[in-house]
Amino acid sequence: MAMTDPLLPPEFSDLEPFAREWCLASEPERYAKRLASTMDEMQAFYDALFPRAEEAIAYCEKFPLYDLPDNVLRLLQLLYSLIMVSFPVEIWRQPYLPDTGTASFELEEEPVP
């Protein structure tokens, strides 16, 4: 296996395989990723991160929010993605919301980070 630079802080190295997929900077990217993923993929990501969520939040919280080191920013983005997949995983059991037809409701502006 080729060595690649770690994306996350070393304490969270077990989550590296998910980081390549789910460290996404904006909500539209995360929402598109959700719709393009299978339930198995999202369940695996959820199962890996959810038990470590509190530890990851506490880790991110130690750094100034508006000046996060890159690997901490990616850990925060991973937590945003956990929120995104929580709806299909915890509630809908499918990537799309039921009964929403072709309705669209897009996030046009969001806080950074």
Partner: protein, 422 residues
């Protein structure tokens, strides 16, 4: 769910006898002809909220607002003197749209010292004066002073920027907002962390708005999303608001919101416990910069108060939450059976990742709920358009829907009368 005390008349609706209690018609939501009247009678005469002062931070900051309902685009700008003004976004020379970027139909924003038309280079100061005409000597007796941008009435309340497209508005903004809204003194300006959503939805603006001014539907339409609402006893009990009030064309409904953080784990989605947040926003109250009682908020002075949903006629609403944040909704018709729906969530800026994540979950949850409403209201529009049914019963929890229906009809009637008299 508790049943909250109602006015002595026995119901909120009967407390306002002018509303009546009979079934109502939604012809006004399916008729293209009515919509044409509504555009003139309401959207070209009422004060319309187009944004907030935080979108115009510096002198020279501007944004454009597309108002399909009035067939126009506006420029809202903070001039070099700090004053906020609004103009029709049209060059005085040959009518080109003055300010746009890349796509002429899309909104834009930025900061500048003057506006310059892309077509022939005419320029305008930020107070609207025409400052430069390309090859001015080629024109015939042209005085630049006669060619300023066409102004639109513009005023600000509590940081909300309103415009009025009438030549002479019949009321000032303060008169229009009336005592109930004017009484509100809330630190909106401290809540500058913003999530802005937009959706193109195939339903009449009022049909859509109605779903956001009653909570009667919440245990049913949104039942699956929330373990509390999914409980059979909750579904059976339904929903009861704490308080309703009507003031002129405007209205408010107040409800409890939980509190979520006191619920047993089986009543919450796991992510809500992990992030200490959810539909009702972050569980931990924000420091909103004031310890004082908030004038105008919780107007019924009810115990257990959780939110106020203020509905400003015609198409603007803001919800103020007990935990110290607010959101706004705008319902912009683009046709008699289509609207642009905007939702903005505003928080005190997060101080750390934990607070930011609580905001993220609140914003993501709103999107899930709104999408359910979007789908369903397209279905409602279809049902109404079948004209299989002509009148519909409204319950007491739907008093605000009844009121909007009446006010819209009243404004259109009054407009038609004034035209006949003229």
């Amino acid at each position: 769910m508790k049943r909250y005390e109602k006015p002595p008349e026995g119901s909120w609706t009967q407390h306002y006898p002018e509303l009546g209690t009979g079934p109502v018609s939604y012809e006004s939501s399916i008729s293209p002809e009515f919509h044409e009247l509504e555009r003139e009678a309401i959207f070209k005469r009422a004060w319309l909220n187009v944004g907030r002062v935080e979108q115009l931070r510096r002198n020279g900051s501007y944004f454009t607002k597309e108002l399909a309902v009035a067939n126009t685009s506006l420029i809202i700008v903070r001039g070099m003197d700090g004053e906020i003004r609004a103009f029709h976004n049209v060059c005085r020379h040959r009518g080109n749209k003055l300010v746009w970027t890349d796509h002429p139909r899309e909104e834009t924003s930025g900061t500048c010292r003057q506006f310059r038309c892309k077509y022939h280079g005419w320029r305008y100061d930020l107070d609207g004066r025409c400052s430069y005409v390309q090859q001015e000597g080629e024109f015939f007796g042209l005085d630049k002073a006669d060619y300023g941008l066409v102004p639109v009435h513009c005023d600000v309340w509590s940081g909300f920027v309103f415009v009025n497209l009438a030549e002479e508005p019949s009321q000032t903004l303060t008169e229009f907002l009336g005592p109930m809204i004017s009484a509100i003194d809330y630190p909106f300006h401290n809540m500058t962390e913003r999530f802005y959503y937009r959706g193109d939805i195939r339903s009449n603006w009022k049909v859509f708005l109605d779903a956001f001014q009653e909570f009667y539907h919440a245990p049913i339409l949104h039942g699956r999303q929330n373990p509390v609402m999914a409980k059979p006893e909750y579904q059976q009990a339904g929903f009861s608001a704490l308080y309703f009030q009507i003031d002129g064309p405007h209205r408010v409904g107040s409800t409890t919101t939980g509190p979520s953080w006191l619920l047993p784990p089986e009543c919450l989605n796991p992510i809500e416990r992990a992030m200490r947040s959810g539909l009702f926003g972050p569980w931990d109250a924000a420091d909103i910069g004031t310890e004082e009682a908030l004038p105008g908020i919780n107007p019924g002075k009810k115990k257990g108060w959780g939110l106020d949903s203020f509905q400003i006629f015609p198409n603007f609403a803001f919800i103020i939450w007990e935990r110290g944040w607010y959101l706004t909704y705008h319902y912009w018709p683009t046709a008699h059976n289509r609207l642009l729906f905007e939702a903005n969530l505003y928080f005190v800026p997060a101080r750390n990742a934990r607070e930011r994540l609580a905001h993220e979950l609140a914003a993501a949850t709103i999107k899930e709920y709104a999408l359910q409403d979007c789908g369903t209201l397209e279905a409602t529009q279809m049902g109404l358009e079948s004209r299989a049914i002509s009148t519909f019963p409204l319950g007491d929890q739907e008093i605000l829907c009844r009121h909007l229906n009446k006010v819209v009809n009243d404004w259109v009637d009054e407009y038609q009368r004034s035209r006949e008299e003229a």
